[in-house]
Structure formats: structure tokens, C-alpha cells
Symmetry: C3
Subunit: 471 residues, 3 copies
């Protein structure tokens, strides 16, 4: 039996009668602002090619590791959801069957942000007005599929409809950025920029590291077997990415360790790392050293630095062997910043011209380490609640634990950080609602005047990300 699907107009706003009206006023003043998305993982090919998305399963389920992990946790095999094996094969998968399986398990997402984002997509993007469950699965699959085939649902049309002012994707330094180049040539006015993510050539434990270096040499003509040539090659790729619109780099490391090695020590380490096999501590030290090197390059070329540490990638060995990366088996770990960042901060922490945006999966560091660090060092800013914590309660914890020490102006607004294109407006909307709710509580408690809160709301939604990411 179908149940109505409606989006509560005051969803995620505080429920207290003294607070909600304030929150509502603040939210009304920011809900229509353009979306600035300075960090994410959408595919630039979508916008370059502007081909229609295929069906509900491939658009909404298979690429979304938030969904895969939850379904898998309840014993649902990823193959039945249409997830491809590393060789690209999807044996025995039928998109409609996969969607039905998803629909029948949609209750698993109650209380999670995935439910919020998806309901928004269903209602606001596809106009669906019944709840997704087993007996509405086909209706959904058909309704979404038929709309996706129309012009109004092509990637560029959705981009414009979503009110996206700028969207950053993330690419390997070995990427030729052909889609970004095609976009530039296309004459389309949507602003899609790249981000420089050097992990494949900077992390000795990245899959194919040595082959990646060989490819780096090919792309740049540099002798990357030599440390100086290697750094030159990185500079050239950074320059190329910047020419394709990049204003930022991104670094996904297992820890936040940084180091500053002397030239001789650095060359010797690079030698060991290139020659292999690489000891775990050499790999860690090289990543650590390269973060400091990258900070130096950022001072040269002005690219903003982002550090995303703390995930144990591919924790489930068997699943990784079957399906590869990004299938929901990454698990956060305890992360130290105070000792880890000191070498980099000793060298560059007092540089106002550098912006290093820190993220964490370890919320215990918000009030203890990150807010004190960002509330002191001119080079540091705090990224928003990330990944598992990009959720209503997660965002509330972020503001409540960070603001009192770091204020609002050492934070950088919201990142959607997503591969799920259609959820981008839902995510920004949720963040704006949570931030307005937080601000409204400060007003209702007499900690801020409402005119100040209104200014901050606009800053968080729009100005801070533009400033922090130099957009």
C-alpha cells in the first residue's frame, strides 16, 4: 500500500517554538543562494558528453557507497545490486531487479542521511509522491527511467536546474583532463573545474605506484627517477590542472603525518621508495614529507590544500578482492593532528598566504585538536563535517564542538564530497538547514543578534567556500 511522500518544509530545523521561527527566517534568506561545490567526486564526462543517465539503479544505487555498505551489512550481495567486478563485468544483474531489492530494503536507511537525500531526489527532482518501498519499486523505476530519457534530465540541464555556480571534480595527476578540456571547448557556461589529487604518484602504497610514476614521466617529459625531476613533474601537473580551473589540491592519507626532510635525506628516501619494495614506515615518511613539499608548492602556485586523513581504506580484504575500491569498506581510525602536523606547521603554519583545509573522521579531535589548531595558525582552516559525519547530528556536533574555539571564520562552508550528482542540492540544503538551526539557537539563547546570524548564514552558505577555495 502506497504511503505519501512529502518533504516537511521545516525539516531539520530545531523544533522548539522559540527557535524554529528564527531558524526559518535565516533559512529563507539562504535557501535560494547558488550552490558552490568546491570538493566532490562527480564524473566530468557527464557534463562533457551530456548523455542521458540510464536508469534509477545506475544513477542512484550502484555508485553510492553509502547505500552499498548498509545493504551489504544486512547480507545483501553487491552483485545483486549491479555492482561491477574489477573487470567491469556485472554477471546476472538486471537493473530493475536490483532496484526492487533496494526498494524492499529502503527501511534500513531510516534515520540516516541517505534517506534524507534520496527522498529529496525522489520528490524534488523526479516529482514522486509516494514512499519508496517494495510495492512502489516498479513505479519508481519506470518514472525515473522515463524522465531520465528527456532533455530536462540531461546532466547539464540538471546542473543548471540545481543552481550550481561552480562544481569541482577530483582527478588523478595522471588524468589527461580530456573531459575538462572538452567542457572548455564546448561553449557551455556551466563552471566545472578539476582538483589535483596526487595520491597515485605521492603515496608509495597506492596501487600501481611505480607504473604511475612511469606515466607521470611520459606526461611531463621529466626524469622522475630523479628526485628533482619528480618534483618538477609534479609542478608541471599542478600547473596543468590550474590551467583547467583547479584552485585546490586534495590529499587522502591514512594519517595526518607530515615531515620535513633535509635534501639528502629526502633523496635517499625517494630512492628507496622508487626502487622498492617499500617498507611501511618509508611509505608513511614519504607521504609525510610530500605533504610539506606540497605545501611549499601551494605557496608557489596558490593552490589551496585539502587534507583528508584517517580512513583505513578497503578494510574488508575479501570484498576488495572481488569488487575493488570504494564499495563501502573504508573504516575511520583514531587520528592525531597535533604531533602529526607540527613539521609542516613549523615550516609554513604562520604563512597567511597558504590555506590548508583540514578534515577528520575522528570527531574527538574537533574540540581537542582541530579547533585549537585552526583557531591559532594562520595557514589552517577547518573543512566541514566529512563523510560518515556529513549528517544532521554530525554537522551539529561539528558546529557545537568547533565554533567556540575556532569561530565561524576559520571554517570554509560546506562540501558535498559526493559521486551522487542528484543529491548535491539535497546535501547543500541539509547543511544550510543545520547551520541556520545552530545559528537560531545562538540567537534564541542570547549569544548572537539575529542580524549577525543572518550575515553568518550567508557567509557559511556562499562567501566562505568561495573565499577559502579562491573561487
Amino acid at each position: 500500500m502506497a504511503t505519501a511522500l512529502t518533504l516537511h518544509p521545516d525539516r531539520l530545523l530545531p523544533t522548539g517554538p522559540a527557535v524554529r521561527p528564527i531558524a526559518r527566517r535565516l533559512y529563507d534568506s539562504v535557501s535560494g543562494l547558488p550552490i558552490v561545490s568546491p570538493h566532490g567526486h562527480t564524473d566530468p564526462a557527464w557534463f562533457a558528453g551530456n548523455q542521458p543517465f540510464t536508469n534509477a539503479t545506475e544513477l542512484l544505487v550502484t555508485p553510492d557507497h553509502y547505500l552499498l555498505r548498509m545493504l551489504y551489512s544486512q547480507g545483501i550481495d553487491l552483485e545483486r545490486l549491479g555492482v561491477a567486478r574489477p573487470d567491469g563485468s556485472t554477471p546476472g544483474t538486471d537493473a530493475r531487479q536490483a532496484w526492487r531489492l533496494f526498494a524492499a530494503n529502503y527501511h534500513l536507511f531510516r534515520g540516516t542521511p541517505s534517506r534524507l537525500w534520496l527522498d529529496w531526489v525522489f520528490s524534488a527532482v523526479f516529482g514522486l509522491d509516494v514512499r519508496l518501498q517494495a510495492d512502489t519499486a516498479d513505479h519508481y523505476f519506470d518514472a525515473i527511467g522515463s524522465q531520465l530519457a528527456t532533455a530536462g534530465f540531461l546532466p547539464r540541464a540538471l546542473f543548471e536546474r540545481f543552481g550550481i555556480e561552480v562544481l569541482a571534480t577530483t582527478e588523478s595527476p595522471l588524468d589527461d583532463l580530456r573531459h575538462h578540456q572538452a567542457l572548455r571547448r564546448s561553449g557551455w557556461t556551466g563552471r566545472v573545474i578539476t582538483t589535483f589529487r596526487p595520491d597515485p604518484v605521492v603515496d608509495p602504497e597506492f596501487a600501481g605506484f611505480r607504473a604511475n610514476l612511469a606515466r607521470l614521466a611520459e606526461l611531463t617529459g621529466c626524469d622522475v627517477a630523479d628526485y628533482t625531476g619528480y618534483l618538477d613533474a609534479l609542478r608541471l601537473r599542478r600547473h596543468f590542472f590550474a590551467s583547467m580551473g583547479a584552485t585546490a589540491t586534495d590529499h587522502g592519507h591514512p594519517t595526518a603525518a607530515t615531515a620535513e626532510l633535509g635534501d639528502r635525506e629526502a633523496r635517499a628516501l625517494f630512492r628507496r621508495v622508487v626502487d622498492g619494495p617499500v617498507a611501511a614506515q618509508d611509505a608513511e615518511l614519504f607521504r609525510a614529507h610530500m605533504l610539506t613539499v606540497m605545501a611549499g608548492m601551494s605557496l608557489e602556485d596558490g593552490l589551496v590544500m585539502q587534507l583528508h586523513p584517517g580512513a583505513w581504506r578497503n578494510h574488508n580484504a575479501a570484498l576488495y578482492a572481488r569488487f575493488g575500491r570504494d564499495r563501502g569498506a573504508d573504516i575511520p581510525q583514531r587520528t592525531d593532528y597535533v604531533r602529526a602536523l607540527k613539521p609542516l606547521l613549523d615550516r609554513y603554519g604562520n604563512e597567511s598566504r597558504l590555506t590548508l583545509i583540514l578534515f577528520t573522521l575522528d570527531e574527538s579531535t574537533y574540540a581537542r585538536e582541530l579547533a585549537p589548531l585552526a583557531g591559532h595558525y594562520p595557514a589552517l582552516k577547518l573543512g566541514p563535517a566529512w563523510w560518515f559525519h556529513d549528517s544532521p547530528e554530525g554537522m551539529r556536533r561539528f558546529r557545537r564542538q568547533v565554533t567556540e574555539t575556532a569561530g565561524f571564520y576559520n571554517t570554509v562552508g560546506f562540501n558535498d564530497d559526493t559521486r551522487a550528482f542528484c543529491s548535491i542540492p539535497a546535501r547543500h540544503d541539509a547543511a544550510r538547514r543545520i547551520d541556520c538551526g545552530y545559528l537560531a539557537e545562538l540567537v534564541a539563547e542570547g549569544q548572537l543578534d539575529e542580524d549577525e546570524a543572518a550575515g553568518i548564514a550567508v557567509d557559511l552558505a556562499y562567501h566562505l567556500p568561495r573565499q577559502a577555495y579562491r573561487l
Copy 2:
């Protein structure tokens, strides 16, 4: 001067006018459900023998380490509270005097869950209508004592009055389960089952480990000096416990470390552990290895596994020497799960047929480690807020930090985990109130529809524990 004792009908429900009515409706729909208590520490002898409890002090104070620790922290000697020495002697104790001392210090428990549970017991079980304080101590002692002597307050009568559908106790693998056997023979229909807690024969640092192994050999006829015989003996005891109703095992380890040793390595370690003296790292490795072994046995015999790590037992050496275990001197420690559980998860994490329920005393792991792990691995579920965190704020933190990543359906409902029999309904009632409050907030914030919340409320109170513990 006596003050009225009343239980607020809406206690522990959210106070906001937009939320409380929803919470009240949800709570009304679950408040009368039977109690499923799949993990606890009541004494099966109570129900087997069905003898009257003696007095207020022995029923409510002396066995409750929550009370002892708080009173002791304020300089009150445990001997004055009637706590027995290890030799069983209770020099100079008078139950009434001890009760008066407790009553005069009852204010210490303001703001703690003990206060909530006790007030419920006083009011709902014993019909007391004045607050406990120095000048009502004798009234309490007399009123409770006289009721305990009546038929309606015998253990089985209380069990039935409390609406307990099933109650699990916890026993050593060396226990002959005579009380459980007597219960089965008695014809009483109350369902009291045991739980297999193998620590005494699996943890080389457990008091009397080698003597325990000798006893294990006696009970099973196995040659436990041999590793194969030792494993056979464990299998036999598990089988015996299952025949006495056990559906679960429970493992209380200092850490969550797991390991998987090869056969030769395991035999050599077992040899060292049995021969003694045992090095700390050998003890840790053996416990770690045995967790993985036990997971394998659970796959064989279907017993659900529970892991309770992270307590530094008997932190107060002097108190332990005087009074022995479980006197309130256990202190939680930082606990890692991500690295610790990997060996077991590598072997069995993808097994949907295994259920490993994780608990923690380190709340910083809720959102960072436990929810991501349970929200991915089919074998994992999350136990409820445990021990120090089994409290209104503790349960709220659990839901707020776990749900957004793990959802509701990777959790297992409530455990009362108590030795304090009379508090069982109070504890389940508190959990139901907190869960309904949390759900009501999701409804009021537009994150869930009320019909969904109502379904979840019943699942949390009743269906999830039955399913997770295979009851």
C-alpha cells in the same frame, strides 16, 4: 520531613511541545510489551529456589556496584554497607544500619541513572510514596522487608509481574548449571536461560586459570593439556550450555584484540600459556586468538557472540585485595576496534550466519569505528549503550552517534546487563522512553514519518533483541 515520591508519567521524554506528544504516543505503544532480557547477571538460584529476598540492603544495595562505587567515592567504607570480604565474612554489619547510611547519602545519586531505577523500584514495586532520605530510612527498610516476606514478592512472582518473556543469566563454563537444570525440572513456565561466558578458561590472566582448566578436564573428560582436547572440551561445554537454553556466548576482554594463528603457532602458544608463567603479550595473543576460534565455533553451533571489551578490571588494588571483584573499581579505557577486529573479520566478517555483537565503554568509537564497522560487515551488530553509558544521556549519545551510519537494524535493542533484579523493568522502561524520544525528534524534524517511527519503536523494544539473540 518526608517529601512525596512520584514518578513523572512523561519522565525522560523530550520536553519540547512539538516533540513530547509524539514521544508519548510512541511510548504508549511499547510500554506494555514483554521484557526480553538477553544479557544480564541475575542469579538463577533465585528462580530455581524461589526463596524470599531478605531485606532492602541485601536486595538493593550490596549487590549493586553502581551504588557501591559512588558511596565509596565519598569516603564511605564498604564494610559499613554490608559488603562481604572474600572469605564471606561481614564483620560488624547490620543491614538496617547499612540501609540508614545509604539513605542518608541518597542525594549523591541525583542526576544518575541509579536514582531513576531505584525510585522506580521504590514506587512501582514497593508502593512507597515518600522520598528516600535519612528520616525515611527506617520506614523504607520496614516496608520493603515486610513485603519481601510475602508470596507476591518471591522471585518467580516478581518475574511474572515484571512481564519478563525471557531472561538470560551468565555463567562460567565450569558451572554445572544446577539451577538451570532445576528450573527446567520445576515445571515453572518462566523462561530463564544461561549464557556461555568462557573467560575463566580462555583468559590466561583470569584468577585460577590453570585450576579452571583442570576442572574443565574433569567436567568434559577431555585432555585439556592438549590443544585439540582443549578445543573439544570447549565445544562440549558450549553444547551443554546450548542444551540449557543458551543462545549466546559472552566475552569480557581487556581489549578487542583478535588474532588468527596457524595451527602450529596456536599449539605452541597454548603450550606456553598452560605451562606458565604467562607473559602479558602471550595472554593477550591467546585471548585474541580464542575470539577467532570462538567465532568459528559459533558458526558451527549457532551461538551468538557478544564482545565486552575495554574495562580495566579491579583498578583499585587495595580494594580488590580486601573485597574481591565487582566492587565498583573497574575503569574503562580507550579501545580500538578497527585494527583489533581485523583478523577475525578477515576470516569471518562476511559471514551472514555469524552474529558478533559489539559493546564499548569508549563512546568515541561509536561514530568513528563501531557504526562504520557494523554498517558494513554482515557478521557485526552493535549492542546497546553499556554500563557507565546505560543512562539517559548515554543512550541518547548512542543513538545520535550510531544511527546515521549504522541505522537501527544493525543494533540489537536493549540489554539490562544487571545483577539488580528489581531494576530490570525500570531499565527497560528507561530505554524505551529514550528510544521513543529519539524517534519522536526524528519525526518532529521531518526525518521520519510517525508510522515508521512506531514500527521502529516496537522493533527496538521487542523484535530486534529476539532476532539478534535468536530467541
Copy 3:
């Protein structure tokens, strides 16, 4: 354009209609109580000399590391704020210019407690009724400056106007306490007492440690090159401090490590530490040992012990080189208490006559370690939310994470811990409001009766600090 500055009469109280009236009643019953300030860093010279404060910048900005760190984080050079170099010079600084710079950046403090405290000072102390911003900077500077020159704004007059019953300062054991002696001789009835902070002669890594020992020898006539003489010297200084009113010692260590060394081991370690250079682990072990020694001395002389661990002091090496200590570059670190304190607790933890007040910068220890420890050991009490956590949300987290295990009576009320004299009443007022709000929530949720809450509110604001600090 000037905007009105008003202090909301219900600021920081919960906003829910069922809670606020209760909170308001509770707050009204404690708002006028005298201020007991048992721990802080004001300068006794102010009260001894009773000279007028100079201007707004020197009174409110330059000594306040909360303000300096935030302004510095946004790229504002400390020299422009009038911060002196270690040689005392303040090149190119003009107090009015510095104030203007501060005023133009006052928006950075939105959402921080500094904003709350300062607005209180502006409004309640100086009668200002417009908000501080760039275009009111001069008005502020003039209005504050002219008032500071009047009799009613002399340090003693403010002390009396603030309703301070007792104020503890903190001094080095090498301090001759001349200001405290002058105060005693002056006949002024304001109670200003000292606190014994032995770090300069107990921490081998403290700047000038060996010179400090030499000075200790001079002051006491003891042979501090000998371990026995060193301990005697410490006893003499403690005795002298106690004679100047001290009721407490304070220990600021990087960690909470304690140790108990045998006499021979202690003497050998002392020898190494005095002879230098000091290995990091020797320094840590010596501090650890001395905490246990100091606990023993506290049992002798009755001084209450305070332990403030967990700050990485002077994390910003370059800033430290330019400006010295206490400029906002201290960063908290993860802190362990359970293992760290065990040696001291094994020796003295069961002593009801000892009071050791624990503080933390690592909130993850509140519920996990500190509340269980303080809720068990007679010698332990918990200090209030400290430093970065002395804020509305920080104080709420403290109560919510501590109370359910440790109750209220293992806590010690509020510390303002400040160098910012004028903010003392604002800080105590904020703490009272937050505590009353927390209590009101317990009442509204049916966890406490209002008469109990009212009693606790007075205990927290007044009786507990007097008792815990033996004032």
C-alpha cells in the same frame, strides 16, 4: 552605524517553554551569590598596588590569549595588537590603533565565549550600549579609558563591586609573594590568596630549571643538590605559601603520568635531572614521580592538589621565539588518565583526606575515564570544564558526560582560571546559567524534583568550591 548592545536577561538558559521557567527560577536563586574563585591567574600586584588600569587594550586585549589566538589565526600580527616581545619592547604599537584593529575584527568572536564575556564587561562594567565594531571603536576606547581613571574602577573597587568572596592567584614557588604580603599588611579586607605552582622547580623541561633550583636553594637555605634537601625546600615553600593563604597546589604537566619510585631510584633520577642534559623520558618520569611525592606532602600539610595536564605548550615554535609563553599557541592533546594515575592512586587513591582535583583538555575522557575514576576513588574530584571547554557547549558536555557516573558531589563547582580580571563575574555568571539550565532539564524530564535542583544549584555555585578547596 551603531547597533544596540543589550544583554539578554535569559541568555544561555534553555529555550524550551517547559524548561526555561524552571531554569530562570533556579538561576534567580544563585545569581547573587558571592563569587568564589579558587583558581585563576590574575596579578596580585593589581590589588596590592591598587593603581588604575591604563586603557582598554592593555586591560582587555593584550593579556587575553583567547583573543590573541583568534586574531592571529586570521593573519593579524601580534605586534599590531600591542603584544610585547620577550624583552618587553612593543615597537610601533599604539593602544588606540590596536583597539581599532580589535574592534574591526570583533565579528571573529561570534559564537565564542570571548564574545559573551566581553559583551558582559562592556555592558555591565562600563555601561556601553552599542555593539563593538569598527565605527564604535573610538567611542569604546574613550569611554573605557575615562572610567578606568576613576576611583570606582580601581582594582579593589572592582573586586568589591564584583562580589568576590575569595580570589586565588597562582605563583611560582620562587615568588617572594611580596604582593600577597603587602595585601596582608594593607588592611584591605578583600581576600586574595596564592596557589603553589611548583612546575618551575619540578619540571626538568621548564625554562631555566637549574637556575630555578639555585634560586630555590637561596630562598630556603636548603641544599637542593641533594634529593632530601630538595624535598625539604619544597616543603618549606609550601609552608610559606600556606602561610600566605594558599589552600591548594597546581600542577601543569604535559601528561597525567604519575610514578612511585623507590628511594634509591628516585635519588638516581634526581641526580641525572639536576646534572643534565635531561632525556625526555627522565623528565617525564621525574614529573610523574614528583606528582606522587606532592600527593604525600598534601597529606602532610593539607593543601588540595590540582592537576592540569594535556596541553602541548608553545606548539608554534616561531611565535614562541618572538613573543614567549601564553600567546595562544598551546594545543591540547589526547590524554590518558587510567594508566597514568594508577601509581599515585595505588599509593594514595583511597585516602579521603587527600583531594586531587583533575582537569582535562580531552573531553573524550569525561565519561570514559574521569567520571568512573572520580566516581570511585575517595581522593579524586573533577574540576570544571577547562580552558577551550570553558564555554556554554563545553560546560554542557561536561555535565552531560560526567554527572551520570560521578554525580554532582564529586565535582568542585566553577573555576574562572583567568588573567582577564573584568571577565570573572561574566564567567561565573555563564557557569551558573549553564548549570541551572542543566538542572532545569533534569527537573523538566522528571529526573529531579525542583527543590533538589535548587539545592544543587547553590552547592555548585558556592558550597562545593568552598569545601573542595578548603576555603
